[in-house]
């Protein structure tokens, strides 16, 4: 309780409130840009956190994260172009609502649903984080290695239909993470006698490269085709009837989203899709879904914001990011000298609880920003992409410079931008690459430490209940796409039978 209050004191410092509001606002703007999601928002805005104290930095990054989640749904509703996967479900009913002249109502209900989802998930965070951190204290090197393996295999398996590409991206990321001096033995690996490479490839450059530069390059494909749509926003509040239809879906979707967010590899996209389809099944008027049903917008909005809070749990308690965005955040935290993991709760409870409490304040700030400033946000959305994308490129370059104060990294940035572009074009999932680069170093060190402690015997990976559970879950995660495909085929056959009957 003391730590909770201490956290509140920290977050209520005017400077931290300022960062929450600024982060939420900037995150909303980047998240609103078509094609750019929370991972890009955090990646591009990371340089702002340098020079800040770590607590303010993590508060700012979290605010950017959920700001971008709010922002993503603005472009889904108004333009039918989601910022990222987690905002896709908002297009299903949000855009039809906007076409009916209910854009303002759609944005208001989405902001309120996001707010409720976010706040309920913060309560979940408070109850779950500490016990999970205590549990994580039981983890040794072999358990950590297996946990990272599970996270990576889950994130690959969940990119259904792209498993081979996902594993290639993962392997490439892990290989990139081995470049530089091996911390255990001091041996140079793949440095090609280039001094700049002896410290390894800075993962934030890879992140900014693939997420910011690569995304902008990818958006160049459609830059001349985007047609401007003028939308009538209408009244910016929802009706009593709309609220009546939405309140239970919002309340049901929040815990679902939160739990999915906590799971490795899942995250906002799956959370929002799951809650959309479950609400459709529960609805008395499922035929209205996709035609502008307000609950079809409210449910996924609540769910994906809850998932974004849930995703912070494995990040902070175990130091394992479960999604692309949290991987980016982990990278930035390591840069700032913060090592997330179970000991963070023991060593720096003030920071953890300040972050948790900042989520309350951030969500309040965001709902205000997203409702009161709708006019301004719509105007920003009207700013041509042709102006915004060059600005993002410029920010990416400056961000890269602030990492190492060397323009040599500009070449790496461009290289990873091109890699990111081709990965997008060829349908490679990007999250496994980024996640692998970030956890790769730790994964290898834990693997080797475990082997050293067992004198080279692999039996160490089967020596505890936790290890065996993690192995079973990893194997199950690999079979997940097969099960899903079977399930889909069966339901398709079922549909056919129903039609023929």
């Amino acid at each position: 309780m003391d730590a909770f209050l201490q956290g509140f004191q920290i977050v209520l410092q005017p400077m931290n409130i300022f960062w929450v509001v600024i982060g939420g606002f900037l995150g909303t703007i980047v998240g609103m840009l078509p094609g750019l999601g929370p991972a890009t928002a955090v990646a591009v805005l990371i340089p702002i956190t340098f020079g800040m104290d770590p607590t303010s930095a993590i508060i700012l990054m979290a605010a950017i994260y959920y700001g971008a989640m709010y922002g993503g749904s603005r472009s889904s509703i108004l333009l039918n172009t989601p910022g990222d996967g987690s905002a896709i479900a908002a297009t299903f009913d949000g855009y039809p609502m906007a076409q009916k002249g209910q854009a303002g109502e759609a944005m208001a209900i989405s902001a309120v649903a996001s707010f409720i989802g976010g706040v309920l998930a913060v309560f979940g965070f408070i109850f779950l984080a500490k016990p999970l951190a205590n549990f994580a204290l039981k983890f040794g090197p072999s358990e950590y290695f297996l946990l990272m393996l599970l996270t990576l295999s889950a994130i690959v398996s969940l990119s259904i239909g792209k498993m081979v590409k996902g594993f290639i991206a993962m392997a490439l990321g892990l290989l990139i993470s081995t470049i530089g001096i091996d911390p255990q033995t001091g041996v140079h690996r793949f440095t090609m006698d280039i001094p700049h490479l002896s410290e390894g490839i800075e993962f934030l450059i890879v992140i900014i490269g693939v997420y910011a530069v690569g995304e902008v390059f990818y958006n160049f494909l459609t830059i001349d085709k985007v047609k401007k749509e003028k939308k009538k926003v209408g009244r910016i509040w929802f009706t009593k009837e709309q609220w009546k239809r939405s309140k239970w879906p919002i309340l049901r979707s929040a815990p679902l989203g939160f739990i999915v967010g906590v799971l490795p590899g899942a995250g906002g996209s799956i959370a929002s899709m799951m809650s959309y389809s479950s609400e459709k099944q529960l609805s008395k008027k499922p035929e209205e879904f996709g035609e502008g049903a307000v609950e079809g917008l409210a449910a996924p909005e609540s769910s994906n914001n809850a998932a974004s809070v849930g995703a912070m749990i494995p990040l902070l308690t175990m130091g394992i990011p479960g999604s692309g965005t949290t991987a980016v955040m982990l990278g930035a935290l390591i840069m700032l000298g913060v090592r997330p993991g179970p000991l963070l709760f023991e060593n720096d409870p003030g920071m953890v609880w300040a972050l948790i409490n900042s989520m309350f304040i951030g969500n309040i700030a965001l709902v205000i920003i997203n409702i009161l400033l709708v006019g301004l946000l719509v105007k920003i959305l009207d700013t041509p992409a042709k102006v915004l994308y060059p600005l993002i490129i410029m920010l990416a370059f400056i961000g890269t410079y602030t990492l190492s104060y060397s323009t040599v990294d500009y070449f790496l940035l461009l290289l990873f931008g091109v890699i990111g572009l081709f990965m997008k074009i060829m349908d490679f999932p990007i999250a496994p690459l980024v996640l692998a680069i970030i956890v790769g170093g730790d994964m290898e060190q834990n693997f080797r430490m475990a082997l050293t402690s067992s004198n080279g015997s692999l039996s160490i990976f089967f020596s505890s209940g936790i290890s065996i559970t993690l192995i079973v879950l990893t194997v199950l995660s690999l079979f997940y796409p097969i099960v899903i495909n079977r399930f889909k085929k069966r339901s398709r056959n079922g549909d056919k039978e129903a039609i023929s009957a």
């Binding site: 081979v164 594993f167 041996v187 160049f220 041509p384 400056i398 323009t407 997008k424």
Partner: protein, 149 residues
């Protein structure tokens, strides 16, 4: 289009092979297990190589299928936009330190905006270039204390 479809798996095969061959050239460690630093890279590059070959086979099977994204790359001015951005980025890398942040950024952003946004909107381009370069310089250098050239 076919070149891109096959090029990507071939590139992955080359990258995996380069990592595999270079792994054997890693010096042996004087501390602990001499082969310790080798296991991970060797295992991963073999894994990546096998998967890249599977990927190549998959691509060869669907070589004639249309891919709208690859087509988009060759349509309109997409390739030019990407090439010009890269070229300007390379020039930016060379002039950033000698010219200083403000001048080099104004030149880089200005050229990029004029190319991407078009000459017709020259007023907006100039205003955005100068104001954003200055705001970024002020934000980073003065507010955040980042030292810029």
């Amino acid at each position: 289009m076919k070149a891109v479809k096959i090029g990507m798996p071939l590139l992955m095969i080359i990258i995996a092979s380069v990592f595999l061959i270079s792994s054997f050239a890693i010096p042996r460690a004087n501390l602990g297990n001499p082969n310790g630093p080798l296991y991970f890279p060797i295992g991963l590059s073999i894994f990546m190589l096998v998967l890249s070959i599977i990927y190549l086979i998959n691509e060869l099977k669907t070589l004639h299928e249309r891919n709208g994204k690859i087509q988009g790359l060759f349509e309109g001015r997409t390739l030019k936009l990407i090439a010009v951005t890269i070229a300007l980025g390379v020039i930016y890398a060379f002039i950033f330190e000698p010219f200083g942040f403000l001048i080099s950024t104004i030149l880089f952003l200005g050229c990029l905006l004029f190319y991407v946004n078009g000459w017709k909107k020259w007023k907006a381009n100039i205003i955005v270039t100068i104001s954003f370069s200055f705001i970024t310089w002020y934000g980073f250098s003065e507010l955040l204390g980042v030292s810029l050239p």
